[in-house]
Each structure stands twice: as C-alpha cells, then as structure tokens.
C-alpha cells in the first residue's frame, strides 16, 4: 500500500540531513509505527509521504501511484491527522468537516453524520471549535481523516495531549478501523507503549537514518535481556562485563548463545549477591534502546 524508497532530505547545507536514505514499506491492512526521538526525522518523512516536503532524492508510492509525480491522485487515498489538529476555530465542527471534505470533492450529509456519530461528537458537532477540548478536536480530526474513504491513514503523534481514557479510546478506534475496514495505518509517535500496543511493525529512525524495520513482537535480535538485582551492583556490572554482556538502562543484555543458568552461576561464582534474576521478553523499549545505543556507539566510534 505504501512504499518509501530511499528518501533523503536536507533542509540546510550546514546541518545533517533530516532524513537520510530511508526506505520502508507498509502492506495493506497493517499498522506500522514510525518511532524516533524528537528531531529524528519522523515529521519530515511524513511530509515527504504526503507530498508536502520535496525530497532531494527517493520516491514514495501510495497504492502504486507516485506521490512526487501525481500527488493529487496518490493523496486521494490518504487521510491524515496531525498533532494538535488545526481546525478553523471560528467555525463549527460540522462546517470544518464540510470545508475540508469539499477539497476531496465533497461528501454526502449522511456519510458525515455517520462518521460524526462514530467518533462520538453528535451532540457537539454544531458548536464552535474554540469551545472544543483537545480530545474532541482529536475525535473531529479522526472524522475528517476518514472522510471520504481513505485506504491509508497517516497519524502524526495522534495521542499527544490526550488524557489516559482518550488514549485508550483512540487506540481502540484505530484497531477497529484496521479490523473492520482493512485500513493501512502509518503511526508516528515517540510513545513506545502506544506503538507496541497498536502496531504490527515498526520503523525506528535515529538522526534521520532508519535503524530498525521489522516486527514489534518477537522481533528476535542477537541478544537476550535480563532484569538483575544484586546487593553489590558494582560487582554485578563488572562480572556481567566479564561474561561479555552489556548494561542498557536497567536491563542486562548478552548474546543469545549464552545459557541463562550458566550466566547466573558465573555471577554467583564471582561473588555477586543476586537477589533477582529474570529473563525479559524482548520489549519494544529494549529494542529501541538497543538500536539507539548502537547508533550512538557508532557515532562515538
């Protein structure tokens, strides 16, 4: 459904590229997370995907149509939500929907009503946007993105500023859209838990470069992760390094070749007073930290 091929963009010659040779693809009906720190290049990548930012090189295709060559045709298949959706505050929610959908050729009243009902804004849709809470704006943003009938939904930090209930509701709506309508979703976020719970796959960007592209669960990797507590943490770290492992945040990583029982007995043998030794499931957080630290390490090297 979406194919991003070797896109690069440098805004300023004196600064590194905002996006550097990034490629990834999202299959129809999949939800892909675009992860990265602030300034990692997520917004630029989304800008290129939407044809709002011109890449220095590379190409994006949506449903087989090249965005850089036939933008209007490609974008006709897309709905998008941006962080802090900017509606016309002086108009009602309903009028905003009419304005935005008019640029897609217009949408029938019944379809709009149905969408407004689905996002739960029926009672307030004729109020001015200036009276809307952030959560209501976000729901309206979802409604406008889904009108008329997108095949690809692009969400840029959609849950920023939402309360916990709002985040859960939004997440459920996205999953429902995927399951019910078979929508393809590209979700940009810096919230690991959000991506982990919603996405089938993830692309991690770091300083404009892609550092990971793959599944969110059971993504494997060449290391296993442990959570270890000891009464003498300094000895623990020293002993772990002797074993060939490394520490990342609160987690201890070591090659998959090593047996957990062997590791534990070596630690005890080294005089480490182990209180807790648990093998962690590979979480997105650990993956994120792994690829981030690798990148930082390469830069330092």
């Amino acid at each position: 459904m979406l194919s991003v091929e070797s896109i690069s963009k440098q805004f300023d010659r004196n600064r590194p590229p905002a996006v550097n040779n990034v490629s990834f693809a999202v299959e129809k009906g999949r939800i892909c997370g675009l992860l990265g720190h602030n300034g990692a290049g997520k917004s630029t990548a989304l800008g290129v995907v939407l044809g709002m930012v011109y890449p220095d090189s590379g190409e994006v295709t949506i449903g087989g149509v090249a965005v850089q060559k036939e933008r209007e045709k490609a974008i006709a298949k897309v709905g998008a939500i941006f962080e802090a959706p900017a509606f016309y505050d002086y108009l009602s929610g309903w009028k905003n929907l009419q304005v935005f959908t008019s640029y897609s050729g217009g949408v029938s009243r019944s379809m709009m009503k149905e969408m407004v009902e689905w996002v739960g804004l029926t009672d307030r849709i004729h109020d001015r946007i200036s009276k809307y809470s952030h959560g209501m704006r976000q729901r309206l943003a979802l409604a406008q993105a889904l009108l008329p009938h997108p095949e690809l939904l692009i969400l840029d930090e959609p849950t920023d500023g939402l309360d916990p209930e709002g985040i859960v509701e939004f997440r459920e709506q996205i999953l429902e859209l995927r399951d019910r309508l078979g929508l393809t979703v590209l979700l940009s976020s810096h919230l690991l838990s959000e991506v982990e719970q919603v996405c089938d796959e993830v692309v991690i960007l770091q300083k404009g470069k892609k550092v990971y592209d793959g599944g969110v669960q059971n993504f494997g990797g060449d290391e296993i992760t442990f959570f270890i507590e000891a009464r003498n943490p300094v000895d623990l770290e020293r002993s772990w390094e002797k074993l060939g492992g490394r520490k990342l945040g609160d987690e201890f990583l070591i090659s998959r070749d090593r047996e957990p029982s062997e590791c534990l007995s070596r630690l005890i043998g080294d005089g480490v007073k182990v209180c807790r030794f648990t093998q962690q499931e590979n979480s997105l957080e650990s993956l994120y930290l792994q690829v981030s630290s690798r990148e930082i390490g390469e830069d330092a090297g």
Partner: protein, 284 residues
C-alpha cells in the same frame, strides 16, 4: 468546474465567517459618518456650493447625496482601502500556514495552484464586496443628509475637469466606477498575496504591502519635475484610472491601458507567489 465554484464558495464562507473581515466595513462606515459631519459643519458644503455655482450654474441640483458619496469614496478609499485589502490578502495564506490549517488542506487531493487561485479570487471578491459596500453606504449617508435625487458633480484634485451627470446616469456611473476601482486594486492584492506565499508572519505581509503602497503614493505624488518622466510607473498613479470612468466622455483606450498594466502587475505577483509556494516545503 462545479466543484471549483463549490470550493470557492467555502473559501468565501471562511473569509466572511471571520470577524476581522468586517473591520474594514465598520471602519469605512465610521469614516463616512465622520466625513459627512465634518463636511457639513466645517464649511465643506459652502466651498462645494461656490464651486458648483461657478461650474454648473444650479446649486440645489448638484449638491446631492450622490456628489457627496463620490467625494467620500474618492478621499477615503485609495489609502484606507489599501489597509483592509492588504490585511485580508496578506493574511489569507500566511495565517493558514502559521496556524497549521494549510497542512490539513494539503492532505486533500487539491493542487497548490488551485488552492492559491481560490484564495486569490476570494481576495478579489472581498475587495469588490468592500468597495460596493463603501459605495452603497456612502450613498446612504449622502442621501440621508441631502435627500434623494438631484444631479451628480464629479470633482477631485486629480481630475482635469469637472463632470456633471443627471441622477440616474450619475448613479450608474458611480457604481460602474467603483467596480472598476475594485478591479484596478489587483496589484495591492497581488503584492500582499505574493508576500504571504513566503514563510512569513501574516502581519509582516500586510505591513510590507501597506508600506510599499504608501511609499509608491508619496513618490508618485512628489511635485518635482525630476519625477515627471517616471510618474506613470508608480502603481498608485495608475490606480487613479478609476476616475476615467467618471469623465463626461470615458477615454476607454486610456482606461484599458492603465487597467492592463495594473492587472498585469497583480497577475504577475500571483504567478510569482505560486512559484514560491509550489517550491515550498510545508512542515509543522
């Protein structure tokens, strides 16, 4: 085509749904009332009476609501109009870009050219609406003071001679000239619009346009011989072309020549704005 007009309709709806759009309408109404009060109490009417006595012979007939309405428009519109037209034209794109609305519009299957054209046309329609409002409200204020009917005397410092019309002919000339005036305003819209196509604050686009037009007016009106050969190149000098539609015998060739210049400048600004906007990266 139908879709284009529907989109233009929504563009205009948005423009006229904003309170600030009406600032110009309100200010002009206020200016007209103040003008009329000062004019009638400050001896302006007596001065005009003397002039009418000299050129037209009959006093009562030509000191009409229509004559006063024309004077109000002539003395207020050129510079005051620039402020409100620049405010709307400089704001229409730059403000949406600043607020982020533009990104939501551009994720729709609409070309940047079409989007700009819709906004540019909206500005032109706003200008025409504002001018017609000023023409109509000036006429109402004039008629409230002087009553309905009479002749129309057209005189302004920039006119080489006085024109005299009967009531209905004067009325049609008056509104026709105002329409022409709103069209020769296109360079003002064009400059403000062009500036708004850059990554610029809306206020900056408005202020720079106003400053340029005022500077143009000052230089164009400089009463020094050295400026004479260049006077025709000043935009505001050419914008006085609307007076031509109020000459007893309209010099059409001169009017079309001046209008073509002004429309050319306005459209060139639009095309330049489009080229700038088309190449711009739209980011948050």
């Amino acid at each position: 085509m139908n879709l284009f007009f529907r989109q233009l309709g929504w563009e205009l709806y948005r423009l006229f749904a904003r309170r600030r759009t009406y600032i110009g309408f309100g200010i002009f109404l206020l200016v007209e009332i103040v003008f009329y009060l000062i004019w009638t109490r400050g001896g302006g009417a007596r001065q005009l009476e003397r002039m009418i006595q000299n050129v037209a012979g009959g006093l009562d007939e030509y000191l009409s609501g229509l004559t006063i309405a024309f004077l109000m428009v002539a003395f207020t519109m050129l510079m005051l109009g620039v402020i409100f037209v620049s405010l709307v034209a400089g704001d229409i794109l730059a403000k949406e870009s600043e607020d982020g609305n533009l990104r939501l519009l551009l994720v729709r299957p609409v070309s940047r050219f079409r989007l700009l054209l819709l906004k540019f046309l909206s500005c032109q329609i706003y200008t025409t609406a504002l001018f017609l409002f000023v023409a109509f409200s000036s006429l109402v204020v004039g008629c409230l003071g002087q009553g309905w009917g009479g002749g129309m005397l057209v005189w302004a410092p920039d006119l080489p001679k006085v024109s005299l019309f009967e009531w209905w002919e004067g009325m049609s000339r008056y509104f026709f000239a105002i329409l022409g005036f709103s069209i020769v305003y296109m360079p003002v819209i064009g400059i403000a619009f062009l500036l708004g196509c850059f990554r610029i604050k809306p206020a900056a686009a408005t202020i720079v346009t106003i400053a340029l037009i005022i500077a143009d007016r000052i230089l164009g009106k400089m009463s020094m011989e050295a400026f004479d050969p260049y006077r025709e190149y000043f935009i505001t000098s050419r914008m006085d072309a609307w007076y031509l539609l109020l000459y007893q015998n309209i010099p059409w060739a001169r009017f079309f020549e001046q209008s073509a210049w002004l429309l050319g400048i306005g459209l060139t600004c639009f095309v330049l704005g489009w080229l700038v906007f088309e190449r711009r990266d739209i980011k948050s």
